[in-house]
């Protein structure tokens, strides 16, 4: 048994039992961050803050939401929006945060791709991040079901139908997922369960994994420099703060994180109070009607690019392309054959690959929302083919990349 002495202070009392001094060092003051990074490295903190906002607002929504197909719409639009004090605020925060968190995730992912932060021991960071992305997608989709509006119902119908596998006609699987022939009570109840317990638990576990994956390789930096963290941290602790290449996470980088979070929150709350329409689709304010499909049906913006990859092809090819798009980002660390873990602009062809990928995904996103007619249809088709072609050429262009 450990030896305990009479505590000299509350801090000491806690330290003897919980080693708080050590924990604080490991988590903050001696968690070393390179200095040559920019505000894009604050996206992780922004995601953590946004996830916290989702968690808190979700808890308060849960107090009044009723997962019943007859009362769900009413409980959201009447009880929460009209009756509950500040119910509207929780709902707007929740809806806007759910949408904005994907914007930040995409920025976070493209930052990782641009700086090659998925290579040289950082593969697990990328993979756990991709798992988080997929789980968040499922969380967003299941949450979208809950208000039981027209878009909830028809998105539920269409997305679950994907599991029929086209010509495979796995209707049994679709019915198993729904627990009914159409999205009905069983469907709503189980997606409610997924949204409020199973998926959030998975997300929190994955966040732990994502952070843990960061400890050994440390975060990347914008110059692709290999920093000797041990030597540099000694330098810092010896007092040469300015000369060291690293800084403490707390409070050195934390203060910058908070500055970026502050700016982000200005943008976020502007959306919550004054421009929330993009995150709360008007069509979903019509109650679910299983006998009437809305004139235009489209997923939330963050799913549009993969939805567009599904759309221009015949059902089976479309499903294969869609499946490809869903998993291909996982393979990025293994398809990139280059040894260079540096910014894309120093990597020759890869720089072109990166910018084309970014622009093409925006094009796919736009085409996914526009009606699949005329020129939009053609653009979407070409963009979908280009998307796949880019992944096919990636191993080749990176293999012949010069070492920098």
């Amino acid at each position: 048994m450990a030896h305990f002495t009479k505590a000299t202070s509350v801090k000491d009392w806690l330290d003897q039992r919980l080693a708080i001094v050590k924990v604080e060092k490991v988590m903050a003051s001696e968690y070393w961050i390179p200095k040559n990074i920019n505000f894009l490295w604050a996206m992780g903190m922004i995601l953590a803050v946004t996830f916290s906002l989702l968690l808190v607002s979700g808890i308060f929504l849960l107090m009044y939401y009723q997962p019943n197909i007859d009362t769900a719409f009413y409980s959201v639009n009447y009880t929460i929006m009209r009756e509950v004090d500040f119910g509207w605020l929780w709902r707007h925060v929740h809806g806007v945060a759910a949408s904005v968190i994907f914007l930040i995730m995409y920025i976070h992912m493209f930052t990782g791709i641009y700086y090659g932060s998925y290579k040289k021991g950082r593969e697990m960071i990328w993979l756990s991040g991709m798992l988080l992305f997929v789980t968040f997608s499922a969380e967003a989709f299941s949450g979208y079901m809950l208000p039981w509006g027209q878009m909830s119902y028809w998105a539920g119908m269409v997305i679950t139908n994907l599991f029929a596998g086209g010509s495979l006609h796995a209707d049994g699987l679709v019915e198993w997922i729904r627990g009914d022939y159409v999205p009905a009570q069983a469907f709503l109840s189980r997606f409610f369960m997924l949204h409020v317990i199973l998926l959030p638990l998975a997300i929190m576990g994955l966040i732990g994994l994502h952070f843990a994956a960061l400890r050994i390789p440390h975060v990347n930096n914008q110059d692709g420099e290999e920093i000797d963290f041990e030597a540099e941290s000694k330098k810092y602790l010896a007092g040469d703060k300015a000369g060291s290449k690293v800084m403490r996470f707390g409070n050195d980088f934390m203060s910058k994180d908070m500055t970026i979070v502050g700016l982000y929150l200005v943008f976020f709350f502007y959306l919550v109070f004054y421009n929330y329409g993009f995150a709360m689709d008007p069509v979903n304010f019509d109650p679910a009607d299983g006998l009437k499909t809305p004139a235009h049906i489209y997923p939330e913006w963050y799913f549009l690019w993969s939805y567009e990859i599904l759309r221009p092809f015949s059902v089976d090819v479309g499903l294969i392309a869609f499946g490809f798009a869903q998993v291909i980002f996982f393979a990025l660390p293994f398809l990139d054959r280059s040894p260079n873990a540096v910014a894309a602009n120093r990597r020759g062809l890869f720089a072109i690959w990166f910018w084309v990928m970014l622009v093409n995904m925006i094009v796919l996103t736009a085409m996914g929302k526009l009606p699949p007619e005329g020129i939009y249809s053609t653009i979407g088709y070409v963009a979908a083919l280009l998307f796949m072609a880019q992944w096919l050429v990636l191993p080749f262009i990176t293999k012949f990349e010069k070492k920098v």
């Binding site: 605020l89 203060s255 502050g262 929150l265 993009f278 019509d286 925006i362 526009l370």
Partner: protein, 315 residues
């Protein structure tokens, strides 16, 4: 080394805004037909050229015009002869009370609706005399004199008995112009009146039966049950509702929704009522929003000052 952060910020913001522009304003511009308001001018309807005589108009309404056969005029002491659901069973929809028509509806519309109801309401596609489909409101063919003068008299009478424009409440506007076809559950409005809290379950069930009968009649008349409008302010938005009220056919050619012919003022009040129903906390949202924005800017400033202090030693 040069600070690249401003450039990076520009790139990030640029691509975010492009994406936003494409999936929101641009996509919605493509997806939804743009209907421009004509400010409730009803330019297609002829202007009233004669000066109406309210006294003469009253005689016509009560006598030769035969209006009170179907319409009540509560302020003139003429109550409805039938319950709403019986009236709907007879005519398809409960005919409106005429007490405040004069202030809520455009006078050109009122004149035209008396002479040719389905023309004024733009639902001629629903009624074809040759097939025996008559508009439930028969046209007024004149009482022997100058028909334009007679119609002007009737309009003048309706205007003379109305409350003033200022006294029209959003609730009155909704109930008169929309409420006989559209329920508004969140304001406890049904097409046959405000749904009271009955203490006795039997009374409630009796009310429900009347309500169901009314809905059946109007469903038969309109082709489908006109939707509940509780959340329309969020699902359709102010601009859509306003232009739809003004000219339903411009949005949905062939819709059985008639042009209701309300004035711009009445339409505004209807929209205000829909906001009360579906966007109840809008004033609170604006107010709280200001405080939160002020706070969060202060938060960001203090975070920046903290960062500046901490980072002084790092360079």
């Amino acid at each position: 080394m040069k600070n690249k952060e401003p450039l990076i910020a520009v790139v990030v913001i640029f691509f975010s805004l492009v994406t936003y522009y494409l999936v929101e304003p641009y996509a919605h511009h493509v997806l939804h037909k743009e209907v421009i308001s004509k400010n409730f001018a009803y330019a297609d309807l002829p202007a009233i050229t004669k000066t109406g005589d309210a006294t003469r108009g009253q005689e016509l309404l009560m006598g030769a015009g035969a209006c009170v056969g179907c319409h009540s005029i509560e302020v003139a002491g003429i109550p409805a002869t039938m319950t709403p659901h019986d009236a709907a069973a007879a005519y398809g929809v409960n005919p409106p009370d005429l007490s405040n028509m004069g202030v809520m509806y455009d006078e050109k519309f009122l004149a035209d609706v008396i002479k040719n109801p389905s023309h004024a309401m733009m639902n001629e596609h629903m009624f074809d005399a040759e097939k025996g489909l008559m508009h439930p409101m028969p046209p007024f063919y004149g009482a022997g004199g100058d028909i334009d003068q007679e119609v002007a008299d009737m309009v003048a009478y309706m205007q003379s008995i109305s409350v003033t424009k200022e006294d029209v409440t959003p609730k009155m506007a909704y109930e008169n112009a929309c409420g006989r076809c559209h329920a508004l559950e969140y304001e406890k409005w049904t097409q046959i009146g405000t749904h009271k809290n009955f203490k006795d379950k039997k009374d409630d069930l009796a009310y429900q039966i009347d309500f169901i009968k009314y809905k059946e009649s109007i469903t038969g008349f309109m082709g489908k049950l006109p939707p509940d409008l509780s959340m329309y302010i969020r699902s359709r938005g102010e601009h859509f509702i306003s232009t739809f009220i003004e000219d339903p056919q411009a949005h949905l050619p062939g819709t059985s929704m008639p042009r209701v012919g309300v004035t711009a003022d009445t339409a505004e009040k209807v929209i205000e009522y829909l906001k009360d129903a579906g966007d109840t906390k809008r004033v609170e949202r604006e107010e709280i929003g200001q405080y939160v924005m002020i706070y969060i800017v202060i938060f960001a400033i203090f975070a920046f000052l903290w960062k500046r202090q901490v980072w002084k030693e790092l360079h």
